[in-house]
Amino acid sequence: MRVGLFVPCYMDAFEPEVGVATLELLERFGCQVDYPFDQTCCGQPMTNTGCHKEAAATEALFVKNFADYDYVVAPSGSCVHQVREHLTAVEQTEAVRRVRERTFELTEFLHDILQVEAFPWAEFPHKVGIHYNCNSLRGIGLAQASEVNKPFYSKPLDLLKKVKGIEFVQPARWDECCGFGGTFCVFEPGVSAKMGYDKVRDHAQAGAEYIVSADSSCLMHQKGCAERIGLPLRFIHIAQILNGATA
């Protein structure tokens, strides 16, 4: 199957190693992965701020870049949520509809499409707390949120359980928002930071050495907060653990 890899703009700039891990991981499972070089962004910074007109050209570019793939895979649930739910500033042609339907977040792609059974190369003998980005959790259903009276499930947990040596710890408020919120962290910095401090303290008191997530945008924010208050937590993307990263 031909997979188009989408690396979010902030990951392109700040965490390219997560993009590399995603690429390598998909290739391990036999995917023919291409990276459209002219890709930029999913449009979320603009739509998140209500500026849909200003997002239209970026959205059109996204569709143009990814029109010819069986699947579009991104190591970011919030970007995938934007594409599947909010890529509406651009005219809804057949091409747009197709791209929107075929865009998947990495974890759900591995779990639901490839249905991966094992990661034999992966070993991560550490205590990890799982962080769920809110768009990933409640937007695209990566796990069952705690408010809802339905049976619990978690795709990231299912995959990570297959990693040798990994130990899970759970914070008291496991699915409370960490305060990143896209442009929220820039325009409401006080509340955002307080939520971030609370989140990392919660993971720390649960005994986490690492916080792992399918969204590095949240992790960047939490890392910044943890460093500011001197917590020795480390942060890693799920792609890196599943691809065999050691600490």
């Binding site: 690396v7 703009c9 392109d12 700039a13 700040f14 965490e15 390219p16 590399v20 990276y35 070089f37 002219d38 930029t40 962004c41 449009g43 910074p45 603009m46 998140n48 701020t49 209500g50 500026c51 849909h52 007109k53 200003e54 239209a56 050209a57 970026t58 059109a60 570019l61 909010h86 809110c134 959790l137 409640r138 949120a145 705690s146 408010e147 809802v148 009276n149 339905k150 408020r173 409370e176 928002c177 305060g179 896209g182 929220f184 962290c185 820039v186 325009f187 409401e188 910095p189 006080g190 509340v191 955002s192 930071a193 307080k194 939520m195 890392k223 910044g224 907060c225 460093e227 500011r228």
Partner: protein
Amino acid sequence: MTSSSMPKGVAQPLPKPREPQPRGAVIRGNKPVNQSEAADRFIAAAEHQKMHDERLWTLRQNRDRIAHSLDEWEEMRELASRIKQHTLSHLDQYLEEFEANARAHGIHVHWAADGAEHNRIVHGILADHGAKTLIKSKSMLTEECGLRHYLNGVGIEVVETDLGERIQQLDNEDPSHVVVPAVHKMRADVAQVFSKTIGTDPHNDDIHYLAEQQREKTRPLILNADAGMTGCNFAVAETGSFVVCTNEGNADLSSNVPPLHIASIGIEKLIPKIEHLGVFVRLLSRSALGSPITQYTSHFRAPRTGGEMHIVLVDNGRTERLGMEEFWTSLKCIRCGACMNTCPVYRRSGGLSYGATYSGPIGIILDPTFNRRKYSALPFASTMNGSCTNVCPVKINIHEQIFAWRKVMAENHEIPLMKQAMMKAAGEVLSSPAVYRAAIAVADSALRTLPRFLVYNRLNTWTKQREMPEAPRETFHTWWKQNRMNSKKADRQ
């Protein structure tokens, strides 16, 4: 060490200074309310913020526990949502049915187009009866209409009987939460308010003492009131009756002691039949507090013998909201407060930071309909995490409406010029591959080479409270170009 053993002339250690209660958003006429500024002050009051956050998170946990104990919980939410949507889309019919039944049972029914008319009508009824003192139970609608302020202006004394509302009334401050109006206050704050207004001991902040004092001091006011007023949780068209839910029993006192009972009812409170109470009453207190029912659930169908009952049906923007395709379902709200309890922003900001009658997630989607400019910043006081939507007993898609309001604000230029300019610039960069690649290359190298003080300054809000991410050696684009692009080209040849 007792005071008698202290050497004479040595000063007693000062008691720990009380953390002052953080006050709400600064209101400057019609200027956009700055929620963020008020939230920062709330966070700075660390003890208050901690208590507030923990108290409301406990309510959320109580709600979860009881919701998860009912197999039919999610089905009931769906039923409640559909019953409300049906009623709202046939509201004229149900209002007429309600009015006809209420009148047939001897209730006087009045209609008010807006808050001002509501206040005039209430005043008129009170004046007709020569009523000078009014006791009331909690009603967000009367807050919306500014009733107390109006009545004070025409010489009618109003006494709130709900403990939380009374605290707020005596402190001249709005309620901060629809169910627990003084949740932002610590006991010492209440002690200070009561000592200044109802003569309690300023040094006694024991909560049982404070509550008992309010009970004792309010009781004579209840006994001697000329009239009583309640709000309404549900108005049943089938019987012309209305339901009021309280934990204190103060709605029953307000309605059954004075000879005159006035009820303010928002037109969206209608439900078709008594049997539907079997859904809504089961959802309300479980969502609000995690208890199966409120201590008192009062059903009024006709005045008592020797009493008189009036209803004021109020529009105040509801019919206009009905016509808003993206926002009309906010009218389903049953004022349970579950969205406030779960909202991580609300718990850390306090309800007064929103500067409006309604705060938290429901406030964000209602308040702009009252004043779009004044509340233009509120849709941005959210991370759109979606927890509110999941706890709403009537399934209002709150976080999606918040998203939609952001679009309304941006399109109507109600967002700061700088923000709009930034987004326009971002859109231009992000839609041009070459410009984008050049921009991130610069940002990257800037991060790597600029001295710390240039990065960590007042203009860069990220760094006020967080460390910056480290700059990597290369972008993904660069890595791909160097490691994979040529090999792909080679593969294709």
